[in-house]
């Protein structure tokens, strides 16, 4: 049994076929090396001029185009007729195209997105409830890493059809803090306190100036918007420091932050509210 199989294998590898196989092997190895060299050269040449996203795209284009060319060369060496194959590939391509409409839609969306360039690798983006750092922008999808270290793949078609926020597009941003203070608060005093807090915080930009807007008369508080500008990388530093500074300074200045009170009753809901009777202080003559 084994002897006959071995004899068939030996019979198959005629000197001519063996030579063809060696040539194919050399072509594959040389092809892979050439593709790698081309990729390295392109990366070096485009290092200064192109963004990471375009560099990645060029690298992938070289890799896939090189692989296809290599495949055709190998098929030609094996004696397969390329013209017939291309004809068959056309028919197969149409069939695959019908079967993979979603992928094609993603691919075209990817091309549009690459030309539009709404964000780059390393940007922080927000889509619906997902926020994360862009890891790669591919033809079919965008991969992001969330801040709690999850890997999320968003199809390009979805990205193109949804509202997308590039959080780190501009170098500076404004952090809006909504504040409610008691109705008895002196508004001018509050404004000067907020300005002092912003001026004392090194992460808060002096310019553009902090924004203080009296937004509305709330149900139980005067509501203000306190907007402070910061450099995009200082988000956490500013958030952590300024919230604490507002609380501490308000406590020192006696500025009250009202909060809703919740009364708990045990037993029947119809019980009367407890009342404590206090003596009226004697008035001095």
């Amino acid at each position: 049994m084994f002897e006959s199989i071995w004899a068939e294998i030996v019979g198959f590898f005629t000197p001519e076929r063996f030579r063809t196989l060696v040539v194919i092997l050399i072509v594959i190895v040389a092809g892979i090396v050439i593709i790698k060299i081309l990729n390295t050269l392109t990366s070096r040449v485009t290092r200064r001029y192109l963004s990471q996203q375009y560099k990645m795209l060029i690298r992938k284009a070289i890799r896939y185009a090189g692989a296809v060319i290599l495949l055709f060369i190998v098929l030609h060496l094996l004696g397969v007729k390329i013209t017939a194959l291309l004809g068959a590939a056309g028919i197969v391509g149409i069939a695959i195209g019908f079967a993979s409409q979603t992928s094609m839609s993603n691919l075209i969306s990817g091309l549009f997105m690459i030309s539009e360039k709404p964000f780059e690798i390393g940007d922080v983006i927000k889509m619906e409830t997902t926020v994360g750092i862009v890891l790669s922008i591919d033809l079919l999808s965008v991969k992001i890493r969330t801040f709690d270290n999850q890997y999320i793949r968003i199809p390009n078609e979805k990205l193109l059809g949804s509202e997308l926020t590039t959080i780190t597009r501009f170098p500076i941003r404004r952090m809006d803090i909504n504040l409610g203070v008691a109705y008895k608060t002196d508004i001018n005093h509050l404004k000067s306190v907020l300005q002092e807090i912003a001026a004392a915080n090194p992460f808060c930009l002096d310019e553009p100036e902090p924004l203080i807007v009296f937004t509305k008369f709330g149900d139980s508080a005067l509501e203000f918007l306190f907007g402070v500008w910061f450099y995009k990388t200082d988000f956490l530093n500013l958030k952590n420091s300024i919230m604490q500074e507002i609380k501490e300074r308000f406590d020192r200045e006696g500025i009250e932050i009202p909060f809703p009170h919740l009364s708990l009753y045990s037993g029947s809901v119809t019980d009367p509210m407890p009342i404590r009777i206090v003596k009226k202080p004697r008035s001095t003559p």
């Binding site: 090194p202 002096d206 310019e207 553009p208």
Partner: protein, 268 residues
């Protein structure tokens, strides 16, 4: 060589003994230093109020405070000398006068601005090893330019003194003389000025630290302001010794849009 008092000064180099705790005060910054056999330990602290400046001295009979966060450097046994070097901050500074200034057309004005230096801690010999750089005063960040494209700078309020006597002698500030020449047909409304401190050297005088002189030539809103950095030490003090090189090579002329009249910066 510049003659100095026999009393050690804050910017003089000092020899550091092993297993001894040292302390130096730059009024707004206190530096703690300890040397073990091969390693150096460094911590810094910012007092709530300005303290009297004090050169590096031994802290006798006291253990390091518990709340100090020491960093450790592996420098080797042969390194035994420390020097604090005054350096310019690592980013440009946007200077705003405390009171808006106006310079009429064709007029020149000379101002003195106090710039808080960074304390560069250097261990020697053989060559100076930069251990770290500590800002003597933490300046607030600010933005110079449009919100979509601009430059992150430090913010500094100045009283833009016109005479040297008015300026307090502080160990942690360097005086930068700024000449403003208004060559435009209209008055110059000096609201803010971006000082490219990375191009400035630091000089040490008998009583103060200095930087190169700056000359700003304003030619109108439609033209770039010409900023020239003076060659060598400023002429307002004698016996100046260069103690710190500029972070960036000094270019002869900087064509920068240093004055900003864009009120839109404050918008939202």
């Amino acid at each position: 060589m510049v003659k100095r008092n026999s009393k050690p000064e804050i910017w003089d180099s000092s020899t550091v003994k092993s297993e001894t705790l040292y302390q130096a005060s730059f009024s707004t910054l206190t530096v703690w230093l300890k040397r073990s056999r091969e390693d150096w330990y460094l911590a810094s602290q910012r007092p709530d109020k300005e303290t009297d400046p004090a050169p590096l001295s031994e802290v006798k009979g006291r253990k390091p405070r518990q709340d100090l966060n020491f960093s450790r450097w592996v420098v080797g046994q042969d390194v035994s000398t420390v020097q604090f070097v005054p350096a310019m901050p690592d980013r440009s500074i946007v200077v705003r006068p405390a009171v808006p200034l106006k310079v009429p057309a064709g007029k020149d004005a000379l101002f003195f601005m106090s710039i808080p230096v960074w304390v560069r801690v250097m261990a020697q010999p053989p060559n100076g090893i930069i251990l770290c750089e500590l800002p003597s005063l933490i300046l607030s960040n600010t933005w110079f330019g449009e919100p979509t494209s601009g430059e992150l700078c430090y913010a500094l309020r100045t009283r833009a003194m016109r005479s040297l006597e008015e300026i307090e002698k502080r160990p942690y500030t360097a005086i930068c003389p700024v000449s403003i020449r208004n060559r435009a047909p209209k008055e110059l409304n000096f609201e803010r000025l971006c000082v490219r401190v990375e191009y400035l050297h630091v000089y040490r005088g008998r009583q103060r630290l200095w930087t190169n002189e700056l000359e700003m030539r304003y030619q109108g809103d439609e033209h770039s302001s010409q900023v020239t950095i003076g060659k060598g030490a400023p002429k307002f003090a004698e016996d100046l010794e260069k103690v710190c090189e500029a972070r960036e090579p000094v270019e002869k002329t900087l064509l920068k849009q240093s004055f900003s009249f864009l009120r839109s910066l404050t918008g939202f």
